[in-house]
Symmetry: C2
């Protein structure tokens, strides 16, 4: 039984059978059922299909992320995969970890698999120096490369980014303008986005003519899931005598740790400590009080990046960079003037 | 520049170049660097590689899950992808959603792509009736199928499961034996695992000769991320006069909603309300107090499932079913005798 037989038996076109086999949504449920019933009844030979349609070498997009279980990255993958599938593309997923050599190997592997395009999910693929980013330029010479929430000037590289600089600047300004000047900036990544956020915080301090004490910028080295570790880290800073009336965090997980820290030390939120997170994830609603956080428009970014990708693959001229604005979502850990 | 040229230039075997290109970890960092430098310097032709090595059609495993952004499923994908990659396999990821026809289409698409095996991640692929599961049997006739946390008796189908029946039974018994009899069982899935958990709860009640009031088994229909929705749902039950001194939840998200509900209504945890979740996820440490939860050994299950998968693909005889025991992890939302 091959695709021609099935198309004949079902009384539909070969293209329709192909769409059913590819899981395309553009098929009437009754038609899909008819085709699937015939396949169930007679069986089919995927090799013959694949040879006939070239399905095994076509319509594959490589998705690379550091860690597919990270809250932010897993959401991104979900949105990207779904949007690509709606456009008839399959996803090959690889988690590269955060180590440079592993990232480079993952990208080389994808290119080698002859994917139609590669999407690098998350901003930790772009370093500050061009030399380290050369592996992306090399890949882009072979296949278009799409960056989610990172940016790079290079032919055949396309980006959809949230303006994390501006969003973090706005968050810091909101704290300062509500009268809080001793803000602890807590971060855990030196990625492209991590550097932009830090820059936004510094810029807000400069605009309001605040001195930035070096010990009010703290880097947390622990695991991305260790909320208790963040709590202990902040307890340690307090024990060393560091005074802060707000925690401005580059990620919700860090903010959740700050809420725990306040609880543990009997510090009232938001009266004695304000907390702002980033990503506006599930963690913000799980905490008590709920955490004020920056919505970085992930779904819109993913949608846009896939739209750009499909356009490029269809030979259309697409903008190399699209930038979205983040938005501070006010919840229970702040009492800001807004 | 083809693989032979690179192997010659780098002074390593073709197999080593292939391992580097496939992102295999079994390559010395210095060797990988040497090979990558030559590739960076001279460029390479992926098509030629792919033709020469057959890389485009080999070593692909299809991973299907309902929603790759779900906390439990995203962790599973992370563990499975990483373990497969260490064994030289690439992952093709598809999210099927929870609808039967879409699940069937996703599986058919994977089989059609000539993947070496398909892994169905999460227990919502197996229904109670054999007829609905026929699509899996049909797929297994073409390619081995691996089920994470689900079970099915069928040739060429292999399972790694947590004994959710026993784990939920143990959790319910722990509540009952600490003197709490009015337990609200809160669940949000009719999946294989969902049915097993419910069965475990019922069985515990039967063992301790408790009547199970129908209105103490409540199904939450809202989104898997809407913790506030769960809180509102429980407030509604309370308003209707339902009395319960414990919430035994089939998922941590539901338990997090129960903690919120207690806070909102001034109900002391654990003195007036005990809460037990399931999955022992990040949400349990984010809540205050931290949530007692069942660790269902996800990492071990994923590791085992990949081991079985690799064994099957290598032609070894592998056990069709491996069952792990869950474990109740005591935290702040219970005061159990243990």
């Amino acid at each position: 039984m091959n695709i021609y037989d099935i198309s004949k038996q079902a009384g539909v076109s070969i293209a329709t059978v192909s769409r059913v086999l590819n899981g395309s949504p553009n098929v009437k449920p009754s038609t899909r059922r008819k085709v699937m019933d015939i396949i169930d009844q007679y069986g089919y030979t995927p090799n013959a299909f694949a040879r006939g349609l070239g399905l095994d070498t076509m319509n594959s997009i490589g998705i690379i992320c550091a860690d597919s279980s990270d809250l932010y990255l897993s959401k991104a993958i979900y949105y990207i995969e779904g949007n690509l599938r709606k456009n008839g593309y399959n996803c090959i997923l690889t988690c590269s970890g955060y180590n440079h050599d592993d990232k480079e190997a993952a990208l080389a592997m994808m290119i080698n698999r002859r994917v139609d395009a590669v999407i690098l999910v998350g901003s930790n693929y772009i370093e500050a120096d061009d030399e380290t980013n050369r592996y992306i330029m090399n890949a882009a010479a072979q296949s278009p490369v799409f960056l989610l929430n990172a940016s790079m000037d290079c032919p055949n590289v396309f980006c959809a980014t949230c303006d994390d600089f501006k969003a973090m600047q706005d968050a810091a300004l909101a704290l300062i303008d509500s009268g809080i000047t001793d803000i602890l900036y807590l971060y855990n990544s030196h990625s492209y986005s991590g550097r932009r956020k830090l820059g936004g915080y510094r810029s807000a301090c400069e605009i309001r003519k605040l001195d930035i004490a070096q010990d009010l910028m703290q880097f947390y080295e622990g695991s991305h899931e260790d909320i208790d570790g963040v709590c202990r880290f902040l307890c340690g800073l307090r024990a060393q005598g560091l005074v802060f009336r707000a925690v401005l965090a580059s990620e919700d997980m860090l903010a959740a740790g700050a809420v725990k820290y306040a609880k543990k030390n009997g510090i009232a939120i938001p009266d004695e400590l304000s907390v702002i997170g980033y990503n506006n994830s599930l963690l913000t609603t799980c905490s008590d009080p709920e955490i004020t956080s920056v919505d970085n428009k992930l779904e819109a970014l993913c949608f846009q990046l896939v739209r750009t990708c499909i356009g490029v693959l269809n030979g259309e001229k697409m903008p190399p960079k699209i930038i979205y604005s983040g938005e501070l979502v006010h919840k229970g850990t702040t009492r800001l003037v807004h």
